[in-house]
């Protein structure tokens, strides 16, 4: 699967008088890993929702490989290879891990109900293939012990792994991850970085990552975008953003230890600004 490019042209999402996203213009190249950071309520998740279709854009365009997605339903976008995870990571509480992953397979290889009902050979073959693919992914992610567990019996950390397994199964071309380390322990969060890199290697997808763990973002991403009150205040390579006073003021400044951990103590307010692509 080839990676897709993503282009946002003046994307805005307004809820009545609230301008959750207010004119974001960004371009993401094929195979890039982009970190999207910003304070709570800055519009990161809403921006992801606009890209994957959970909310409608008030104005602007979302281009996947220069195809405008604005009029596509979320499920149509998913079939184009636009895959996302959710912050709450609910999945489907009543389904087992295997079934959850099978649902992900169903979306890409739909089997006709009539063919299924009549046990027609191709429907049986398709089901076997799906189960084989799912079994493979379950082993790859070390979920063997949870195969027949219902999702609502799992811990948040395991649920996140199941979510990532579903993501890999979906053969993404553009992957949107919404706070994948939220609600899991620090130790598990640290294990997440290599996992994400492997997912990037295996799928070759372009990745947009919303994350509050700043060191993680700066170590993983090829590009960092900082949002505040619905607008992009800073964007660029990690080292540029780290030195950008606008970024520091908007978000990074709020957590000096985080800055220390990401090794940016030398970056003073007077350093060269690297603002670019500010939406308007």
């Amino acid at each position: 699967m080839s990676a897709a490019t993503l282009e946002l042209q003046d994307v805005a999402v307004w809820f009545g008088g609230v301008h959750a996203v207010d004119g974001v213009t960004q371009a993401v190249g094929a195979g890039e890993v982009v970190g999207l950071i910003g304070p709570n309520g800055s519009g990161k998740t809403t921006l992801l929702d606009a890209i994957s279709g959970q909310v409608r854009c008030t104005r602007g365009a979302v281009l996947l490989d220069s195809l405008d997605l604005v009029d596509h339903f979320p499920e149509d976008r998913a079939r184009l290879g636009l895959v996302r995870s959710f912050q709450d990571c609910r999945l489907f509480p009543e389904l087992t891990v295997t079934e959850t992953l099978l649902v992900s397979e169903d979306a890409r290889r739909p089997a006709g109900v009539l063919a299924t009902t009549l046990h027609l050979p191709w429907a049986r073959k398709a089901e076997h293939e799906k189960r084989a693919a799912v079994a493979e992914v379950i082993d790859a992610f070390g979920l063997g012990n949870f195969r027949e567990h219902r999702v609502d019996e799992l811990s948040t950390g395991t649920r996140r792994v199941v979510d990532l397994a579903a993501v890999v199964l979906a053969e993404p071309r553009l992957l949107l991850l919404d706070e994948p380390t939220a609600g899991i322990a620090q130790r598990e969060a640290e294990a997440f970085a290599p996992l994400l890199l492997r997912i990037h290697d295996v799928t070759g997808a372009t990745i947009v990552l919303v994350e509050h763990d700043v060191p993680l973002v700066f170590s993983l991403c090829t590009k960092v975008v900082v949002m505040e009150t619905g607008r992009v205040v800073s964007a660029g390579a990690p080292e540029e953003v780290r030195r950008d006073p606008a970024a520091v003021r908007a978000y990074l400044g709020a957590s000096p230890e985080a800055l220390a951990r990401s090794g940016s103590l030398d970056a003073g307010p007077g350093s060269e600004a690297a603002r670019s692509d500010e939406g308007g």
């Binding site: 895959v83 959710f86 609910r90 489907f92 890409r108 076997h128 189960r131």
Partner: protein, 664 residues
């Protein structure tokens, strides 16, 4: 259109009662987010007891009234205590529980120490003033309603606005968690709300009773409840004023319309159709407002009956399961040769009801769409059978199924916008519409185009549907028809199991559990939802064709809302979402009462108590009991085997683990 003052005042009397009921519905919905289908029945107990006190025990009116009202409030509070443990389950589950509650409350009205010796005694009234209005005479009961109902509504408004409890209740309605943190005692408030609702319901029933020949209402009179629901929905389930006024308006419009249709044979058909249309319009217009607020439905568990995990892993357990099914099947096949024709007919009925319950397993158990109108769909299949006599059964069954599937998709269209509780209300309206309007009207003149359209039963009083033959197999005798129904049920079970094991069920459940997540994975949400309706409709239609042939003479009453609710009770008692559960539920609710002697009382005992007990204490239903029994038997066998080890039976531990279901 002629509008007379008298018909308006009569409508006002009826409308005031709808308004009072609607007030109770809104109050409970606002404070506890429960759509209380027992709102009517709650008060009927008190109304009946009042008759007992004054007529049988000769207690003066006023003390008796006070006693009864206090009891009604206590009864309301008691219901809250009972249902409290369900409050964190999905709203539709609580709603189903209130349906069970209303059936149990109905039983109270026939208990010897509550029921009066004669239900036809004149209902007691505080005064006997009559009024002359516009050429008609208002009976004392109507006059009482005109005076008391507005006062009650006013008292409720003042209580909610000025008393500290009223403020607390309003806070709770906005945000239960925050209210609790700010020191509002949520549990006590919700109990108070239920007590007030009980009081309101009792006043409604006592005011409404004098007009009727008998104080004993059918449990859950669907028509009355539907009117109150319509008023509450117009109010967005939030505004007391709008709910009350809307109730009055519905009463007046209804009275004026039926005054103008006097003599028209389709009078009730038309008013019911108007009511159904009103509910649909209100829901579509009001949907945003209604679905605002916390989405409890999406957070909580449905609690499926589920499968025995052990059956999949353990060989002995699997053997026990298979043997159980084989033995049951053998008994069922042999039964018609042994028992009387009447019992054979019962077996056929159980089988057909099991198929209908399976159709609801797909729709409610998997797709999460609660249907209170499944018999409306069954009726479609029955109409197909009645309208196409002498059609080959091989053609008729899929045809009935296909037509019903089409209707089911139309019924399901609102479900794309309307979720959970409100969809249940539309399906309730649909069932009533099918029974009262469609089935009872053989033909009607199409508007605009003209010409006769015949969609109802050819003879609404009683339509004869002769049993056909099936490839030369005469199904005329009850025994033969029982075998035929058994075959239909067997195929239905196999089909539904295939859907469950091979991909259909998991898609439906995925969309039910997390619509956004399923869409993000690429599952087409709209198509999946409609698929659930189509599959369920097909099965209900096939069952409808069979039911028409089973009964041989059908009338609209055979497809009443009560039947729909009975089927819903079946799947709840059997275990929501479970295939075995649907069959067990049908056996329990159709087979058992018939074996004991089928009166409505027995039926309400089995279904009402069944629903409450299973929802409260055993959400897995009969299916879970069956699985536990199977586990127990398997354990016994294992134990016996270990005492007497046999080399062939030793299973290495590695084979006990279920192999991955992948075949090369």
């Amino acid at each position: 259109m002629e509008i007379t003052l008298f018909s308006i005042v009569q409508g006002l009397v009826a409308g005031l009662l709808y308004g009072l009921l609607a007030l109770g519905l809104v109050l409970l919905y606002r404070t506890t987010r429960v759509l209380n289908f027992a709102q009517g029945q709650l008060g009927v107990v008190a109304a009946v007891f009042l008759l007992k006190l004054t007529f049988d025990l000769d207690i003066p009116y006023w003390p008796a009234l006070v006693t009864v009202l206090v009891l009604a409030a206590c009864l309301g509070a008691l219901c809250e205590l009972l249902l409290r443990r369900l409050f964190d389950r999905p709203r539709v589950i609580v709603m189903v529980a209130t349906i069970g509650l209303s059936q149990v409350l109905f039983l109270f009205t026939v208990l010897p120490f509550v029921a009066p010796t004669s239900f036809f005694a004149p209902y007691p009234l505080p005064f006997s003033t009559t009024m002359h209005v516009g050429g008609g005479i208002l009976q004392p009961g109507d006059v009482t309603t005109l005076v008391v109902a507005p006062l009650v509504a006013l008292a409720l408004a003042l209580f909610l606005r000025y008393s500290p409890w009223g403020l607390g209740m309003r806070a709770m309605a906005e945000n239960s968690d925050s209210a609790r943190l700010s020191g509002v005692w949520v549990k006590r408030m919700s109990m108070l709300a239920w007590a007030i609702a009980g009081l309101l319901s009792a006043i409604t029933a006592i005011l409404g009773a004098p007009g009727k020949a008998s104080a004993l209402e059918e449990a859950l009179p669907p028509g009355l409840l539907l009117r109150a629901l319509a008023a509450a929905l117009i109010a967005g389930m939030t505004s007391f004023t709008i709910a009350f006024v809307a109730g009055i308006a519905i009463g007046i419009v209804e009275q004026v319309v039926s005054y103008n249709l006097v003599g028209d044979p389709n009078k009730t058909s038309i008013t019911t159709f108007l009511l159904f249309a009103l509910i649909l319009v209100v829901l579509v217009v009001r949907v945003r407002r209604l679905q605002r607020g916390p989405r409890g439905d999406e957070r909580s568990s449905w609690g499926l009956g589920g499968e025995s995990v052990k059956a999949a892993i353990d060989r002995t357990r699997a053997w026990v399961g298979r043997t159980g099914v084989a033995v049951t099947l053998m008994i069922a096949v042999l039964l018609p040769t042994i028992v009387t024709p009447g019992r054979s007919f019962l077996l056929a009925r159980v089988c057909i009801f099991a198929v209908i319950a399976l159709s609801l397993t797909v729709l409610t158990g998997w797709a999460g769409q609660v249907s209170l109108g499944q018999f409306g769909l069954v009726a479609v299949g029955a109409i197909v059978a009645a309208r196409l006599p002498d059609t080959n059964l091989v053609l008729l069954l899929p045809l009935g199924g296909a037509v019903t599937a089409l209707i089911a998709i139309i019924v399901g269209l609102p479900a794309l916008r309307i979720r959970g509780l409100y969809l249940a209300v539309t399906t309730l309206g649909f069932a009533l519409f099918m029974q009262v309007s469609v089935l009872s009207t053989p033909c009607w003149t199409a508007p605009v185009v003209g010409g006769q359209v015949c969609t109802g039963l050819p003879d609404p009083a009683s339509t004869l549907v002769a049993r056909p033959s099936f490839f030369g197999w005469d199904l005329g005798s009850d025994a033969d028809f029982a075998w035929f129904s058994l075959g239909v049920l067997l195929i239905a079970v196999l089909v539904v199991r295939t859907w469950r094991d091979r991909g259909v069920a998991r898609r439906l459940i995925a969309v039910r559990d997390n619509e956004t997540g399923a869409a993000a994975m690429g599952i087409p949400v709209v198509r999946t939802k409609l698929l659930a309706f189509a599959l369920s409709g097909f099965m209900a239609g096939v069952a409808g064709v069979c039911l028409a042939f089973a009964l041989e003479r059908i009338k609209p009453g055979d497809f009443s809302v009560t039947q729909s609710i009975l089927v819903l009770s079946m799947v709840v008692i059997g275990g929501l979402g479970s295939v075995e559960g649907a069959v067990l539920g049908a056996l329990y609710l159709v087979g058992l009462p018939a074996a004991v002697g089928s009166t409505s009382t027995v039926q309400f005992i089995t279904s009402g108590f069944g629903v409450l007990v299973f929802l409260l204490y055993l959400p897995g239903g009969l299916a879970e009991l069956l699985h536990r029994a199977g586990d127990g038997v398997a354990a016994l066998i294992e134990k016996g085997r270990h005492r007497d080890p046999h080399p062939d039976d030793e299973v290495p531990p590695s084979q006990l683990v279920r192999p991955v279901a992948v075949e090369p």
